[in-house]
Each structure stands twice: as C-alpha cells, then as structure tokens.
Amino acid sequence: MGKGIWVHWVMMLLHVVAILIFTRGFLLTRTELPNYSKCDDVSQSPCFFEDQDHKPHNHSHPNQKVCWSKPAIDRLVVIVFDALRFDFVAPSTFFQEKKPWMNKLQLIQQLAATNASSARIFKAIADPPTTSLQRLKGLTTGGLPTFIDVGNSFGAPAIVEDNLLHQLAQNGKRVVMMGDDTWTQLFPNHFDKSFPYPSFNVRDLDTVDNGCIDHLLPFLHREDWDVLIAHFLGVDHAGHIFGVDSGQMIEKLEQYNTVLQNVVEALESQSAPGGLHENTLLLVMGDHGQTVNGDHGGGTAEEVETSMFALSFKNLPSSIPAEFDTSFCGLDLDNRNICISSIQQLDFAVTISALLGIPFPFGSIGRVNPQLYALGAGTWNFEDSVGNCQNQPKLDEWMRNYVNVLCTNSWQVKRYIDIYSASSVIGFSHEDLLHIGNIYAKAEERWSHTTKKLLLHKKESCNELLPALKRQIEEYSAFLASVAELARSKWTEFNLKLMGAGLGIMVVSLIIHFLAIKKVKEQYGFSFTSSGDSGISLGLIFACFVGVIRACSFLSNSFILEEGKVACFLLATTGFVKLRSSVMKKKMISEAFVFLLLVTICRFTIQVGLSKHASSSEFVSAYPLWMLGITSLWNFVAEVLPVLALILLAFLLHKAITRSSPEGIWKYIIMGTHLSYILIAMHWAVESNLLNLAWVLKDVGSNCIPRLVYAIGLGQLLLLAINQLFIKQKSLEGSKILSAKAVAMFSVWSSTVIILLGKQGPFIALVFIIGGYCIMRLDNVELDGKDGGSWNLMLDPVPVTQWSLFAVCLFFCTGHWCAFDGLRYGAAFTGFDEFIVVPQAILLTMDTYGFSLILPILGLPFLVACRGQTEKGKQPILGRLSLVYMIYGLIVATSVTATILCVTIHRRHLMVWGLFAPKFVFDVAGLILTDSFICLASLYYFSRVEDHALYDPIK
C-alpha cells in the first residue's frame, strides 16, 4: 500500500463529521407528515359535546353539516398584496416619521376608523424565510417552514402536507384563484377556477395585477364560489426594481386603493340580508414585508412585519372582552381613533378554518386569533342563545364559541405534536414534551371538570360562567403559545454552536490535509520548484490564487448564480498562463490553443444551459445547442452526430488500451464497453424518428437496452474487482499499468454515464478526453532535457487545479446547476418506468456527478501516468498519484469550506433557501462523493501492484 492512503480515509471521516454537525445546526429539519384532518376526527376530542346539544338551536345552517366548528362566515374574499409593508396600511401617525409611501391605502384607514368593530387592521408577523413561496406555504398549512421536504415529489413544489386549500376542497368549498402562479404550483388540483399569471418577470409591474383586476370584480357578482383568492404582485416587483421610496411604488399603492374601493363597494352593495355577500369576510393581506430597498427573505422587522385588514359587512357590536384584546390604538391624521391588533401568520390557517367551519390543517400549530374570530361573530344567531346573561348576550356567546374552538384547536395541536414526535427522527426533547404535556393536561382537566359542566348547565349565572370561561381561554392560550414557542426554537432557529463546530472541524480538516500533503511530499522528496529545493514556485502561488479567488467568489449570491461562468473564466485564465509558458518553451503551442478553444466551447455551452435555466426548465431536446436549429437537416445531424462521436470515442479507447497494455483482462473490459456503445447507439436509433425502428423493441420494451448497459457496466466493475483481488498482476512498467487501469476504469463508467446524459453524452466525453489530454500534455511543458533528476521529483499543482476547474465546468456544461430544479430527473428514469427509490437515486447521482466528479477522479491517474519522464532515474509514480489525489481533495474541500462559511454568513439572506442552501447541499454531497471515490480509487490503483515496479526511488 502506498503511503498516504490513510489520509484519504481520515479526511473522509473528518468531512462527514463536520458536515453532519453543521447540517444539524443549519438545515431546518421539520419532517412533513402525510396525515390529514378529517371532519369526524373531532369526535375523538373532548370538545365536541356541544354538537348534539346545540344542533336543534342552530338554524342558521340547517343543511350544512357542522364539522369542527360552527361556520361563522359563508364566503371569504382574500386579496393578497405581495410584500405589503406594515406601514403601507397603518396610519403614518403610528410611526416616528412620515414617509412618502404611507397613507396611500386611505380606504383601509377610513374603514378601520369609522366602523371599528367590523373592520380591523392587523399587524401580521411572518416567520422567516420571508419569500412568497415559503409564506404561502406557512399561511395555508399553519406550520413553520421546512427546507427539505422529505415527502416532496420530484421537482414539483406542490404542498403535500395538510393545508387550508386541501380542507376547503375536501369540504366542498369552491375556491377561485387569480394572480401569482405560485399558487397553482403549490396547489395544482385544489382550485375550482384559476387565472394564474407568470410571476418570474420582476420588471413587469402590471401583467399580474391587471389580470387580477380583470377577473376580480366580475367574480364578486357571481355566486359559484365560496373562497376567492386574488394575489397581486405589483408592490413586490416595484420594490425589487425601484425600491419602496419610488414613484412607481406610490402609483401601485394608489391603484390598489382604487381596486379596494371597487371591491368594497361591490361587496357592500350585495351585503343586505339575503344578499350574495351577507356573510362575507374580506381579507386584505400581505404575505411578507420588504425592506426599503425592496428585498425580502430575511428575518428583520421590516421584512417579517406585514399587515392584514379584515372587513365584515355586518354591523357588529364590540364583542370581545378587554382581556383578550391585544390591540393598541392611536389617532390617525384626521384625529380618528384607529386600533390595530396583531396576528401571527401561523394563526391564519386555523382561524380561517374555524371561521369557515372546516377541519383545521393537521400540521397547524397556530391559535385561533380572538380578534379575527370576533369579526365573524356577526353571523351567529344571538337570539337563539337565551342564556342567563341577558345583559351581555353577545359577549357570552362569543366566549362560548371561542372557548369551544380553542378546545378543538388545542386538541388538534396536541395531536399533531404527539404524532410528530412519535414518527419523526429528530423530534422534540423529552423535557419539552413533558412540559407542554403538563400544560395541556391542566387545561384539559379544567375543561372536563369545570367548564364543560358550566356550559352544559345553562342555568348557571353569568357571574360564575364568564370568569370560568376566561380562565379556560387563558389556559388554552398558554398551551398554544408554549407549543408555538417550542416549535419556533426547534424549527426556525439556526443552531449557531453546531454550525460553528462544523465549520471549525472543516477548517481543522483543511489544515490537517495541508500538513499531510507536506509530510507525504517530504517523504517522497517531491518539491514544488524545478530546482528541487523546498521553496515556493510560481505555479504554487498561481494555483493557490485561483483556488482562493474561486472560494471567495462563493461569498456573493451573484457569483454562485454564475458559478459555471466563473469556473470557465478561471479555467481560461489558467489556459492563458499555460499558453504563455508554452510559448516561452516554444512547444505544445497547438495543445494550448486547443485547450483554449475547448474552454471557449464549454463557455458557450454553459451560457446556453444558463439561458435555458432562466427561461424554462423544460427539456425540449437533450442537447441544448441544437435547440436553436429546428429544421429537419439539423434534426438529422442531431441524430447522427452523437453516434459518430460515440464511434470516435470507442476508437480512442481502443487505441489507448492497446497502447498501454494489449493483452489480459483489459481487452475484455474494452470489448464490453464497445458492446455497450453499440447498444447505446441502438437505443438512440430506436428512439429517433428518422428510422422507424420502434417495432424492433416492441416486445422487449424500450427499457431493456439501458438496463443491459447498466448490467454490462456492473459486470465489468465486478471483473475489475475480481482481477484486483485474486489475480496477480504481471510486472509491467508502472506508468503503463496505471494508465491501463485508468482507461479500463474510465471505459467501465463511461457507458452508463453517457446513456444517462443522453445525446450530449458522447460530446461531453470527447471534450473531457481532449481537455484532459491537453492538461496532461501541457503539464510537460516545463520538461527540459537538462535537469531530469529534479523534474522527476517536481510537483506542479497547476494541472490538478485545472483538472478540478475543468470538472466544475463540465458539471455546468452537462446542463446542471446547483438547484433542485437543476437535477435532470428525466435521466433517473432511463431504463425505468416506475419510481423505485434506490436505483433512481443512484442513477440521478451518476447523471449529476458523472462527468464532474466520478470520471475526473477516476481519470486523475492519467495526469501521473502520462507525465513525461527523463531518462535519468524513475519517479515514484504511486507517491505522485497519492499526492495528486490529496491536492485534488484539498481543492474540493477548500471550495466546500468556503461554501459552508458563506452559508453561515448569509443564513438570514434573502436567497438563503433559494440559492445558498441548494448550493450547500450540492457541494456537500459532492465533497462526500469525492472523498469516497478518492478512497475507492486509491484502493484500486494502489493495491496489489508489484511494489518494485512503482516504487523505484531515484538512484
């Protein structure tokens, strides 16, 4: 065994530990449960005795089955203004300074001031991340955000958890949606009617809004819906482009004021008893706030504070006891009194469910908000409840209803917490569960022993009932508050200690890596300079410079977004430096030019890939460059060229293997690969429309060829392993046996990777081979005939750096990017029709990392084996290979450490869930794969080789 192999294993261990610790602190890991609330679940709760008792009295909805709570409203109009800041709605007198964008939604302030009991402004507090998608999820599920939704189906962001819209659809409510198309992505099958408009064009302030306006007013006069959702995006977009303090923003707000005026007029005109909107609640709300620059996503007060305005068209008396009224009041510009309450977004789903009388979403941890709930109180038949409290009938009725709803609410939350901690891997700690369990038990006990009896025996006087109800409400509220607090601390707060520890271990591992390289280097007597001393060479400085610049580039979201271009830029820079030295030595100039040409091609391929990423992620054609040509000639070429490339590839492999080792097992390996290539060509021929070959495989099915290719690949791998374990190698020259092994390994993996990548596969493989060849050749530029001895012991880190940059470029060339929609899910279904987790995951990994990780790592020995030698003395090949692997590992680990550092810094950044976290996941997965492949490769290349063949030290 070569010295230094242990380093790879130690590094892998360290990286895994560091990443595990960091991930525990960073990723908000809440598991989504597949459970759904159902109407009859509530019979298990201790709360629902009233059903039988009250039903005869309840005449307001004789035909409607009462579900979890008595319906308080019939119809609901939700108007969402994206990124509605709190100060857009609240009067400017509530703030220290009057800003130009305040007091633009005059109508809301006027309504809130004139009928204080039926119209109310809320300050709505959102949970970060404050991005629209996450917020809509939070609003409808009543839960806290998750990052990796384990139950999520491939690619589609549809919500699978129980949510408000699911409950609406299940309970026969017809939902109409208009505006932001995020809704239809999240809820593909829940809407009765939907009018989605694209939301991605931030520069477009009006399309979505005009679409909403066009549909909104006509629908207010129709009766074929129960819940209407209109999502306006103009304010969000105006903020992103022009900022909050801009003319466009004020225009938008004034436009919205007009829209609201029309909406309120339309609703009011039909709100007479018996009218269409007799029991309608209007909600105007934001999903999150925004900073003055128009950014959102983070957790600052400006971003999480949005507002909600609720308007009921009944004239309600104030029906809420002062104890539960959390509002603060003040005078507005016209010296009218305005009260503003506050609501957590978490509470939205459950409050709306309670108002509409549908089951609460299973995973909701919110509390029914008293003020918002009170606004629905107008639809209860107060005349019916002839209690003993004639002086305060409404208060009494409201309290009865509210305590009942809270009981159901608490029971539902407790049920969720119990089931969650039973089924989730990372649940709550035992003490926490015990604590909230105790609070619940206490409240529950009071309910069963005292309150329930009081409610049942209506003859009790007010004086006894009301204080009891109040105490009960307080206890339930305390329980719900402690659950929400616990959930927030577990699910939305980063654990900085764990993150710091992970990052620390990562940095320590880098230092150990570096020291190990130094030690192994000294063991073999390598040096970085051509003169053989232990100094620092220009090449080393340059490699470090490139590495550091790439690492630093991860600190900005823009550079992560353009990572492919940055890698290409750096690769081209190294190409120019190599060109310079090849001109200096007057040789291999053509290789340098070919390399630059190749980088240029890569660059254009990446650009095409990125533009496709921006416009849409649909894959019309497998090979991006040829999407441009649609003519039949192009189609023909597009069908034939990949096959030609495949033939060329097979020829190259054949030549490579015959040159290094013409006999033995290698021949069979290559034959197997050729067979695979023929099969792949057949596969494409069958799939193409040019030759009508579909009938050929009608009986066998189109899946058999890919599966055969996988099988051949596995067989070859097995053959190599057997050869490795049991058959003594012939003593060949070290570099030859190494390159034979590498070619064999490359060919074994290439067939599977190519079929997964589709028709771009052979081209990328050719690019990889040519690029790798150029890097190898250019490595020898400095080789002079004169000082052979020190050349043999010189270690240049630049080719390794180039190799790793090239691998990164290939990742982007193959049409991937660091986001979950950058995974090519289609590839995972090559050869499979139905979804099976394990093979699909393996195929997806191979497709994603095939050319950017697996093949470059397995091909690294080329860099060593094809290195020119001087006549004087041999070089310790295995020592060099071991060092090259270590340097490669160090380069990858450095960039991943930079990613981790950047994710730590930007954990509250706008893009953290959209960009940094996916990048983190991709990089971390890549690092662990890199480590394991380096370990496997070192086992494969280092063991059972005639030691004397490879270890010949000089002299």
Binding site: S556, N557, S558, F559, L561, E562, K565, V566, C568, F569, A572, T573, G575, F576, R580, S581, V583, M584, K586, L596, L597, V599, T600, R603, F604
Partner: protein, 224 residues
C-alpha cells in the same frame, strides 16, 4: 534629447531612451487619455458608462497616432528600418492585435452578439493599441523579442519596460475589471465592456507609473 546608442552588442541597434524622454512619452500618453475623457465629457457630453462604444472609439482613435508615432521612434534596428516603416507596422498591428484581444476576451466569457459587436470591436482596438501596437512598432516581426517580452517577461532596455509593463498592466487590469460583471447591483457600468475598460485603463495608468519608476531606478543604478 538626442538618442544615444546602447553599448550592448546584440541590442546595439535599438534606439535607447533617456529618463526624461521616457517621462515625456509616459506623460503624453497619460495626459492623452485624460484629454480623451475630458473631450468626451465636455465636448460630446458622453461618458464611458453611457456611450461605451463611442468613448472607446474616441480613445483609440485619439491615442492611436500618439502611441504609434511615439513608439516608432524607438524601433529596433533603426538603420535598416525607417521611421515610417515602423509606423506602418504599428498600423498593421492595430487590427491584428484587436483580433487577438477579442478572441481572448471571448474565451474568458465576453458576451457575443450583434448588439455587443461595436462595443467589442472598439474595446479590442483600444486594448490592442495598448498591448500589441507598441511592440509591433518597435519589434516588427522579431519573434524572439515578442517572446522575451510577452512570454518570459524579461524586459532589458527602457523601451522594453515601456512596452512590457503597460501591456501586462492593461491585461491584468482588464482581468480584474471583469469581476464585478456578474454582481447583481444592476448598475449600468457593470455591462460589458465598461468595467473591463475601466479596469484596463486603471491598470494601464498604474503600469505607466510603474514602468517609469523602473526606468528611473535602473538609470539610477547605472549611474552609480
């Protein structure tokens, strides 16, 4: 300020430069650049950010005669090569160098497209003027000198410094100038080739100072 002959054998044939002459050349070019910007700003009321193509065009058109005429005076082999021949070489070097620069920029990621064409052309002509043209005027087709200056970076004469350092400065400056391009600040100057040009010009000015400093130090050492 008459040119004195160098004493070295091989390089005896090139016209050498005194310190003050180098200062004049550097100052002329530096002030010329400043003049270009002030003309653009005060006469045409445009700047590099608003009209990159025009300003870059102005710079190379304005500086072209200055650079070629100045550098041609220091041509190698002045006996066999007339002043006007050197000027002609410089003029030929301008488009050739532009092609080289444009290809290099495209390899590094410069955008390609019809709307970028005038900008890229003007930018690469400007780059060519500062990198290739002086060398073309002075060295002509002497491959060993080109190789010595651009591949090995081994300037010997003051003229070598005047060619080598600014050329490298421009390229390195442009390379660094490309870094702000991907940032999402949405500033107009982030467009290709504006910030690259700013970087190149900054690098050029810095390296002009540096090359003069080197000449000064060398002269000083020689004097001792």
């Amino acid at each position: 300020m008459k040119p004195k002959k160098s004493k070295m054998g091989v390089r005896a044939s090139s016209i050498s430069v005194s310190t003050s002459e180098a200062l004049v050349v550097h100052l002329t070019i530096g002030l010329g650049l400043a003049l270009c910007f002030s003309v653009a700003h005060n006469v045409h009321f445009i700047n590099l950010t608003s009209h990159p193509s025009q300003v870059l065009g102005l710079i190379w058109a304005f500086q072209c005669p200055t650079v070629i005429l100045l550098y041609s005076r220091y041509r190698k082999d002045p006996e066999r090569c007339s002043y006007w021949k050197a000027v002609g070489r410089g003029v030929l070097g301008l488009p050739a160098g532009a092609v080289v620069n444009a290809l290099g920029a495209i390899a590094l990621g410069a955008p390609v497209g019809i709307q970028y064409l005038p900008k890229t052309i003007n930018w690469s002509l400007m780059m060519s003027l500062f990198t290739i043209v002086p060398a073309a005027s002075v060295f002509g087709s002497s491959w060993t000198d080109w190789q010595r200056i651009f591949a090995c970076t081994k300037p010997i004469d003051p003229v070598d410094f005047m060619i080598c350092l600014p050329a490298h400065g421009v390229v390195v400056g442009a390379w660094f100038g490309a870094w702000p391009v991907p940032l999402d600040w949405e500033r107009p100057w982030q467009e290709w080739p504006i910030c690259v040009s700013y970087g190149a010009i900054a690098g050029y000015l810095v390296s002009l100072v540096a090359s003069f400093g080197f000449i000064l130090v060398r002269q000083h050492v020689k004097g001792d």
